[in-house]
């Protein structure tokens, strides 16, 4: 029996697993399109975590207190960890880490458009936590039930850690909103700048989304872009009232009939421009990542050389250092 003969049966078995809401695991047969869609989505997500360290890393040395600095450091370290969980999940699909890193560095794979906006003030650290991580959580919680096992398991770890990210951001804004008039203005200005880019994080409207239909049928995605965006708006409105800050949308009103807030859509043409590379920080982000990768080359080479020497038994310092 050739592979082509076996394929209808393999596909039927795959479809049965999906229909039963069971998980697909790395060594299972899967349609090539399922595999490539997952590689694209998981890689995009991993790259977002890695690039996402930059806008916040920008503020570590300028955090207003030791407490805030320690928290921000821990958060940025988490983003690196999230990137690594996701790279590990992507690698189970047969692509190598080196290839994934290379595709980010040369622009063949994307990262979330949100990280191409600058973080101009300390209040941006609060707003990124509250809105950007808040939007990420709304996107990510349903992915904990994604049909691909390793992806779903990585998302469970990530979601547990993200809620700290969102709360620390909310706390920063809550504190600023009760501070001096200048601190309050700084908080409001940050919310004004980040609101629409955060809404755009959910992607194009359903009618224009090229991937949604197939991804939902395969259980890679569980809800449409517009549904998740609405859920996010409905969560943020009462939270903004607690903060005492306003969301920059005069059309924002409760719609009794729909049971949801009506709101102004983000500028999807702007989203398209930023995705295509024409955002405020696209060039800076990638250049920074390329430099960091090149600057770290000697460390990777030294570690490999040390391992090779130890394996050959020719070094004096072959005993591995004890792990703390």
């Amino acid at each position: 029996m050739t592979l082509a003969d076996a394929e209808p049966e393999l596909l039927a078995s795959f479809e049965r697993t999906i229909a039963a809401n069971d998980r697909i695991e790395p060594r299972d047969w899967m349609p090539e399109k399922y595999r490539s869609t997952l590689v694209r989505q998981i890689a995009q997500h991993a790259h977002s975590e890695i690039i996402g360290m930059q806008p916040e890393g920008n503020w570590i040395t300028r955090a207003p207190s030791l407490r805030r600095k320690a928290i921000l450091l821990a958060k940025v370290q988490d983003e690196a960890g999230h990137g690594l969980y996701l790279y590990a999940a992507a690698e189970t699909l047969g692509i190598t880490r080196d290839e994934l890193v290379q595709r980010l560095l040369d622009g063949r794979q994307k990262y979330s458009s949100i990280f191409n906006y600058p973080t101009l003030s300390w209040a941006d650290m609060g707003t990124v936590g509250w809105l950007v991580d808040g939007a990420a959580i709304v996107n990510q919680v349903p992915l904990c039930r994604s049909s691909y096992g390793p992806y779903a398991r990585a998302m469970i770890r990530i979601c547990k850690e993200e809620s700290f990210h969102q709360r620390q951001g909310f706390e920063i804004l809550y504190t600023l909103a009760r501070g001096t008039p200048a601190q309050r203005d700084m908080a409001q200005d940050a919310v004004n700048r980040w609101w629409y880019p955060s809404l755009a994080m959910f992607g194009p409207p359903d009618a224009q989304s090229t991937h949604t239909g197939q991804s939902m049928a395969w259980g890679i995605k569980r809800f449409s872009n517009d549904d998740l965006r609405q859920r996010f708006v409905d969560m943020c409105v009462p939270q903004s009232a607690v903060l005492g800050l306003t969301l920059p949308d005069e059309a924002l009103t409760w719609n009794e009939e729909r049971g949801h807030y009506d709101f102004t859509r983000p500028d999807f043409e702007e989203l398209g421009r930023v995705i295509r590379g024409d955002g405020p920080c696209n060039a800076e982000r990638i250049e920074r990542r390329q430099h960091a990768h090149a600057d770290g080359a000697w460390v990777r080479e030294a570690a490999l050389a040390h391992a090779a020497k130890a394996a050959a038994g020719t070094g004096d310092d072959v005993e591995p250092a004890p792990v703390r």
């Binding site: 047969w29 821990a74 590990a88 390793p150 398991r153 570690a303 090779a308 591995p320």
Partner: protein, 91 residues
């Protein structure tokens, strides 16, 4: 190119090590350190194993039905197979 290591963490004493993911590292000592940094930032474990991914032998999912078949028709291995009289206790 560094090796791929599978990571297993014992969440606390009394529990078995559980697979949590993988890391890249040039040697075992670095793999342990990387695994600690990536998978136990919140005290998720008291012990870590790292295993070179290429040394793991796994059953093939393609033959899973045939491979696990011998267990399928031996329902008498389960206690629920046996009817128990109503008045028999602690059985």
């Amino acid at each position: 190119m560094t090796d791929l290591w599978e990571v297993f963490v014992r969440p606390r004493r009394g529990l078995a090590h559980t697979h949590v993911g993988s890391v890249h590292a040039p040697d075992a000592a670095m793999a342990l350190r990387n695994a600690r940094d990536v998978y136990t930032r919140r005290q998720e474990g008291v012990s870590i194993w790292v295993v070179p991914a290429h040394t793991i032998t796994a059953s093939s999912p393609d033959e899973k039905d045939a491979f696990f078949d011998p267990a399928a028709d031996k329902i008498y291995r389960h206690p629920t197979f046996y009817p128990v009289p109503d008045d028999a206790e602690h059985l």
